[in-house]
Structures are given as C-alpha cells and as structure tokens.
C-alpha cells in the first residue's frame, strides 16, 4: 500500500502529513488546549480563505506580488548568469572579486530594505531592490561553478574548431553550466517570493505581504493566516512549475547534458 502511494505522481504521503497536522491543530483549538486570540482553527482560516476569494482582492494581490517576484528574479537571472559567465571564465577576475562576493553573499537581503526605502521610497522599485541582491547569488554561484567545471577537453575542442568568444559562451559554457544555472534559478525563484512578501510587509504597501500585515492590524487573524496559506501554496506552485520545466527540458538536467 505504502509502496503504491510512494510510486504515485501525487505525493499522497506528504499530503497526509499536512492533513494530520491540520487535524491536530483543529482539535487543539476546539478543545481549548490552544486558546489564543491570534491563532484561529484551520476551519476558520479556510472560511477566511473562501471570503477572501469571494472578495476578489486575492487575485489582484497575487498578481502584484508575483509580478515583483518574476521581474526581480529575471533581473537577477540576467545579472547572475552574465557575472557568473565572466567570473567562471576568468581566473584573474575571480581572484579580484571572490572575497567581495563571499562577503556580500551571507548578508540578509532584508538588511538592505532601509537603504532601498531611502533610495526608492515605499514602492515596487524598492521591493525589486530588496529581491534582486539576495536572489542573485545562487544564480551567479551556480553559473560560475558550472563554467569552472567545463572539462578541459571542451576548451581544446573550441580551440580546434576556432570558435569565437561568443560561440564559446553560446556553444560550450551555457550548455555545460545549464544544469547548475537551473538549480540556482530554481532556488532563487522561491527565495524571491519570500523576499517579496517581506518587502511588502515592511515597505511596499501592496501585494500579499502588505495584506498579511493589514489583516493582522485589522484583528482578522483568520484572513491573515489565509494569506499566509496562499503564500505557501504559491511556493509549492512555483517549485512544481520549475521542477516540471527541469524534467521536460533535457539540457537543464546533468543527464541531459551528458547525452
């Protein structure tokens, strides 16, 4: 039975875990074991979600947050891949920049929010500023690592075929680094969602993050948790789309490159 569930395309075991947690949570609230003003039962959150869907606000707020996520991620993708290709192909450049990268990489993105606010105010531009920097690193490191790992014999092939610099990037670096770029890009996409929500909670008065704080201040924990639930669902959806893309495009998986 368990083997059949494990073999299924739908993660039934994972869904069962979520279901059991929700049931325990519901029972704890209903029995009074958990009795807090700000922790409603899952059933109340579900009702909040239904009310939210009916109000029509949800679609607008999802669209707002996802627009920022995608734009921020795309900017990071372009910068990250370009910088990763440069750093991966130049040992000298790497030597000059790697210390700076290692210094900047662990800095929490949200620490840049006050700077973003001063530069761009309470706006989507500020939100993008907060998203891009932390989202950049997994892509840059993935690309750089992929290029560094290009086998020496491929360089020899390039020399033999007298490929130009652009052709080397297009025909050798990018295909070789594609799986690690994709891994970085996939991690970054979920990270972009987290940062967008945080930036909206603190600085950009729109989207899902702002809605979470708004409903919290409006003493509506049911609706607030409904928004949190939607953010979680979006994370799952983003990851599912990325995984599906990875499995359908051969070049994005290491096996695909080997073929």
């Amino acid at each position: 039975m368990i083997a059949a569930l494990q073999a299924s395309r739908v993660n039934w075991l994972g869904l069962t875990t979520i279901g059991v947690v929700l049931l325990i949570w519901q029972a704890a609230v209903q029995s009074g074991l958990l009795s807090f003003e700000f922790l409603p039962a899952p059933s109340a959150i579900f009702e909040g979600l239904i009310a939210l869907i009916a109000s029509g606000d949800l679609v607008r707020e999802i669209a707002s947050t996802m627009t920022s996520v995608l734009i921020g991620w795309l900017i990071a993708l372009v910068i990250g891949v370009s910088a990763g290709l440069l750093l991966g192909s130049s040992r000298a450049l790497r030597r000059y920049s790697i210390a700076s990268i290692e210094f900047l990489r662990p800095l929490p993105g949200i620490a840049f929010l006050p700077v973003g606010l001063l530069l761009f105010g309470f706006s989507t531009t500020m939100e993008l500023f907060v998203i891009v920097l932390p989202v950049l690193w997994p892509i840059l490191i993935g690309t750089m690592g992929g290029v560094i790992a290009v086998p020496v014999r491929l360089y020899e092939v390039a020399r033999t075929l007298r490929l130009t610099r652009t052709e080397v990037i297009r025909k050798i670096f990018l295909p070789a680094a594609a799986p690690t770029i994709f891994v970085g890009a996939r991690i970054s996409l979920t990270l972009a969602l987290v940062l967008a929500v945080i930036a909206e909670m603190i600085g950009n008065p729109q989207g899902l993050g702002y809605a979470i704080v708004r409903e919290q201040q409006a003493m509506r924990p049911d609706v607030m948790f409904a928004y949190v639930f939607v953010v979680g669902l979006l994370g799952i959806a983003i990851n599912a789309v990325a995984t599906a893309l990875g499995s359908r495009i051969p070049i994005l998986s290491p096996q695909g490159v080997a073929k």
Binding site: S35, L117, F122, V213, R214, Q216, Q217, M219, R220, P221
Partner: protein, 311 residues
C-alpha cells in the same frame, strides 16, 4: 496700430484667464498615513471633499510602519505621519524634516496608550516591572520611549526591564502565554485586553506631561517654509474634518471601518482621540527633553527648526 492694441488686449485677457485657472487648479499633495483611528481626520477630509474645498488634491497612501516615513518625506510624500522620537532622530541624522501640523494630543481625559498586564499578574505598580519583559511595538516607538521616561522619572533603572518587539495584535496572546509580563498598548487593542480581564498600569505618554503632542504631521522643512498656503489649507481641512467627525460620528465611523478594516464591534466602540492640528515649537520641545534625558539624541539639534508654524 489699433489691431496691435486689440491683439495685446486679447493676449492679456488670455494670460489672465490662464493664471486664474491655475490659481483655481487644486494643489496636488501626497500624504502617507497609518490605518488607525489616529489618522481619521485625513481620511474624512479626503472622502468628504474637504481637501478639495480648500484647494488641495490629496493622494493618500496607507503605510503600516510609521517609523520608516521620515526618509520618504520630500521625495515620495509632502506630508507624513510621525511622532516626536521619530522626527527628532531623523533630524539628528541629518534629514531636513519638520513638524507642520498636529494630529493627536494625549490628555488625562482621553488616553490612547496604556501599559497592560494580566489581571492575575503580580505586577501592581511601575516599580514591579523591574526584571520583567515588556512587549513593545518597536524599540524606538514613542510608547516605549515614554515608558522609559516614566521609569526614569519614578527613579527606576531602565536597564532592569527587557523589551521585546511584538506587533500590537499579538500582544494579548503573548501576555496570556506568559512570554511577556507587560504590554505597551494603544486603543483598540488595550481596550480589548482590559475588557478581557487585563489591568492597566497607566498611560506612559502622560509621564511627559498632560496635553502632550502625540502623533503629528511632518514635511520637508524647506518645502514647508516655501508653501505656507498649502500648510494652512492642510490644517484648515483637518480642522473642518474634525468638526465633521464631531457632528457626524456615525458617518465618520463608516470611513474608519473602510480604511482600518477593523471588525464592526471594535469600530463602534473605539473612542475618537483628542485631535488638534495647530502646533508650536513648544509642543515638540518636551520630546527633545525626553530624548535628551534618555540619552537617545545622538546629535545636538542646536537651533534647528523643528516646527514650521502656521499663522
């Protein structure tokens, strides 16, 4: 010659008309406020066409975190909600901002902030807070600065309390769970906690004095000095909005419900604070003294103009 005269006269009429229509065109103003009853007059003034009547075309932005606003004043907003500690710290750090209009004055007759403990708490007086954990919306918030000032005034070492940041709506649960021993609260959250059995130790802001300037409006100082007419129209609009609130409390509560999204029962019960919009340098001077006494003012403000007064 005659036709030239006629042309000049026609041109003069045209420019007069243009300048007249310019004078009549409403002045565009951008303002940021917070979804709380404190800022009801600005919403009433907008929704009821009062700003328009005073020649202002106001665009309002709801912001949740008031302490971040001084940095956006002059760039993104012409008017922004602020408090004494936030404004003074912004000025001390070099921002060209000043108070331009009042909003709420805290008085004994109309208290909006409270230090709340559980009904069964052993904390009976301020002195009992020694060694305890206090929940605050923000370590730099006016309510926390006021509590520190109150403790100091009562001769209690402020370093003996530990403050942790907790959002207002989560304070009641944190208090109930025993994660914090006391909560710095504002209406309507304090009202709900007290109704549910909590106990108030008092209003920390009143330790600064009675009739104290609480939240108010700030602008870029240089802009404010160049635009006294706009400042005057802003204050007159808010005063008219207050008169509307006094005369039509039920209608005002509909506006309140619309922008705060608070539950209807809360909106019905919440009292209106003591709104007042004309301020002087003296009103802000008390906060300079408070911050100085707590060692929280990093720079000497010298002769910096902190309030742009309106006649």
């Amino acid at each position: 010659m005659r036709s030239l005269g006629l042309s000049l006269a026609a041109a003069a009429c045209f420019f007069q008309l243009v300048s007249y229509s310019d004078a009549q065109a409403p002045q565009q103003v951008r303002a940021a406020y917070v979804p709380a009853v404190t800022w009801l007059p600005v919403r009433v003034a907008k929704d009821k066409g009062i700003f328009q009547k005073h020649g202002l075309d106001v665009s309002l932005t709801l912001i949740q975190n008031l302490s971040l606003l001084p940095g956006a004043v002059g760039k993104q907003f012409d008017f922004a909600a602020s408090t004494g500690p936030d404004l003074l710290k912004a000025v001390a750090s070099g921002l060209d901002v000043a108070a331009v209009a009042g909003e709420v004055f805290e008085t004994k007759d109309n208290m909006t902030t409270q230090i709340v403990v559980r009904g069964d708490s052993p904390i009976k007086t301020l002195a009992d807070l020694k060694g305890k954990i206090v929940g605050t919306p923000s370590l730099g918030a006016i309510i926390h600065v006021s509590l520190l000032h109150w403790l100091k005034k009562e001769g209690i070492d402020t370093s003996t309390i530990r403050a942790v940041e907790v959002p207002f709506p989560a304070m009641a649960d944190q208090l109930k769970a025993g994660r914090i021993d006391a909560a710095e609260m504002i209406d309507p959250f304090s009202r709900q906690m007290i109704a549910a059995g909590g106990r108030s130790l008092g209003d920390p802001v009143l330790s600064v004095g009675d009739d104290v300037l609480f939240p108010f409006w700030i602008s870029e100082r240089s802009w404010a000095e160049k635009n006294p007419a706009i400042l005057k129209a802003w204050i007159m609009s808010l005063e008219e909005a207050k008169a509307f609130i006094d005369a039509n409390p039920e209608e005002a509560r509909v506006v309140l419900s619309d922008y705060t999204k608070l539950p209807p029962a809360v909106v019905r019960e919440i009292p209106f604070p003591n709104y007042r919009f004309r301020i002087t340098a003296k009103d802000l001077a008390v906060w300079v003294d408070v911050l100085k006494s707590l060692g929280q003012l990093s720079a000497d403000l010298g002769n910096r103009k902190l309030v742009v007064e309106v006649e």
